[in-house]
Symmetry: C2
């Protein structure tokens, strides 16, 4: 299993590859399903969700599947009402702003509240032979949606709570951290072979703020997850300056975006983590020879040491084509196989 070996920084015969948001609107089959079902309706139907989760494995030839879901799914049973608005993202009916709002958040039994997530995982495992990645949003990124009430450019309310009500913010982060640990463990028990924690918006924080307000919670999460067999991945956008802080996290893999080179990422994060990334998804619209040249540069740096997983630096967007992604997967495999098995 090249993907799981790479997660554990072991030698592999080729560079494994998967794509964030590899199941989604860019696929004609997915668009067809979305004519009849909303995103959340797909999540709630294990057979359909397993089909959506598995499709990229056969269609693109990737080395891992990732559970089709949304980071907001486990926030619902904590007591947060939200919708996924097309073209905008998660929108929360009553943004969290007060101590009472935070106190009102409660735990849940995943078997009662989200049985379909676990059933989807079981069904996916019957369908595919590559590893399945479970996932959760990280506390800061979840909190940003809950506090802002939706997607944001500047996270002003979230940062205002962090600076102005640090105890309340820390309490919220702690509640979300416990949920993330519980939810990911349930996914692992159901069959997930690895887990990725998406902290998409952590890069909006200064290193100082991250260190003070976020890092202790991420340490708690990855300490807990390190007791499990399944390797863990931590991903964020624009985290170049935070990577030295990620050294202290017991995540197996750090995912980076295209703003930082693989070599710089390895230097900053230290040798005990594998690296995942980091093609600018915009290159999926470039001529294929440009896409190949940039991919080859990333692979060359990635293969300098064991522990590298090829991915995009952020999710696939709707205008991408399945054909380009399929050819890209082939290129990653052929290019890396030729070099890793020669030396």
């Amino acid at each position: 299993m090249p993907f799981l070996d790479a997660c554990r920084s072991r030698k592999t015969s080729r560079v494994p590859v998967w794509y964030m948001r590899q199941a989604g609107r860019y696929q004609p089959e997915y668009r067809e399903i979305r004519k009849n079902y909303s995103l959340l309706e797909i999540c709630e139907r294990p057979e359909l969700c397993a089909q959506v989760t598995s499709l990229p494995v056969t269609q693109l030839g990737v080395d891992a599947a990732i559970l089709f879901s949304d980071i907001m799914v486990p926030v619902g049973p904590m007591g947060v009402k939200y919708e996924i608005v097309e073209g905008r993202g998660p929108v929360v009916a009553h943004p969290l702003r007060t101590r009472q709002d935070v106190d009102a958040l409660h735990g849940f039994d995943v078997h009662d509240a989200l049985p379909y997530v676990l059933e989807t995982i079981e069904r996916v495992k019957d369908r595919i032979s590559v590893p399945l990645i479970g996932f959760a949003g990280a506390p800061f990124t979840l909190a940003s949606y809950m506090i802002e009430g939706g997607p944001s450019r500047d996270y002003l309310h979230t940062k205002a709570m962090m600076h102005g009500e640090p105890d309340m913010f820390s309490n919220l982060m702690a509640k979300l951290s416990e949920m993330v640990i519980y939810y990911l463990r349930a996914q692992i028990t159901a069959g997930a072979d690895a887990v990725q924690v998406f902290d998409s918006w952590a890069g909006s924080l200064s290193p100082k703020d991250y260190e003070m307000h976020i890092l202790p919670h991420m340490q708690r999460i990855f300490n807990a997850l390190s007791e499990d067999e399944a390797p863990s991945i931590y991903f964020g956008v624009g985290t170049g300056e935070l990577l030295p802080l990620f050294k202290t996290l017991k995540a197996n893999v750090i995912g980076v975006d295209w703003r930082v080179s693989i070599r710089a990422a390895r230097e900053r994060v230290g040798s005990s983590h594998a690296i995942q990334g980091n093609l600018d998804p915009a290159l999926l619209l470039a001529p294929f020879d440009v896409l190949k040249a940039r991919t080859a540069e990333i692979l060359a740096e990635g293969m300098e040491k064991p522990g590298f997983i090829f991915n995009l630096g952020h999710g696939v967007f709707p205008a991408a084509s399945t054909d380009t992604l399929r050819r890209l997967t082939e290129f990653v495999h052929e290019f890396s196989e030729a070099r890793l098995n020669y030396s």
Copy 2:
């Protein structure tokens, strides 16, 4: 003049301070004016625009004024029709996508096309005793609005042109570069004491893409500007990984956002540039003691060497208060004066 001395990396008796978007919606006086005039209508009325430009100097006690304008203003006379849409930003009627679109862009005589910009500068100089900063958008950031048709999260069309039609993209960048040089020189001739080039979205590029497609044009601009007496500032958001490339730019000052520390910025950009920045504007909503503590940390690093200008890491947002900014200016002055004149 602490601001101009700091631009030239000379010793100053205090750290100079100004704020990006220091004239704007957060000011009650500005909101009052906007009841009767749109943003562009203010730009076109020299007396009103000079008043708006000068207000922060008296209101906040800052060490420099910056021309009130919009980066799209000089793009209009090149043949691009645009509007500034409230709460969204610049919207271009016919996004640039073809060779013909690029070929159609033309030069202009600033005295004929934008006489009000030059007249505003002259009037501001009569009103204030601190230096006036002129400004222009950088070619990549301007091109992103022109190609996307408005603000963007992922710059897919811009990057598609850059990768797929590199000659056409380079031609567009060259045309915009010549305009920026011409327009900033006209501002300097009219009385601007320094100029800032806003490349707000350059941080969306990988270092490789920036180096290949953007850097040569920025070298051309700052080489040309270095022949003038007025110092030049280059600012972008999320440019931490691009700073080593900025070493080759003859800009006097590099502006950075809060994602990178002042010390790291200095190390990467080298000793021949002053540094400007970099408080997270979100801290303007924090309790004042938190704001002060973070500002003191930035100042301590900034004062390690001559050549530091205090600023935010991005523009002031509408929910900020004039009182907080005034107190912050005082704090920067008092804190730095006490330390710089002791040693």
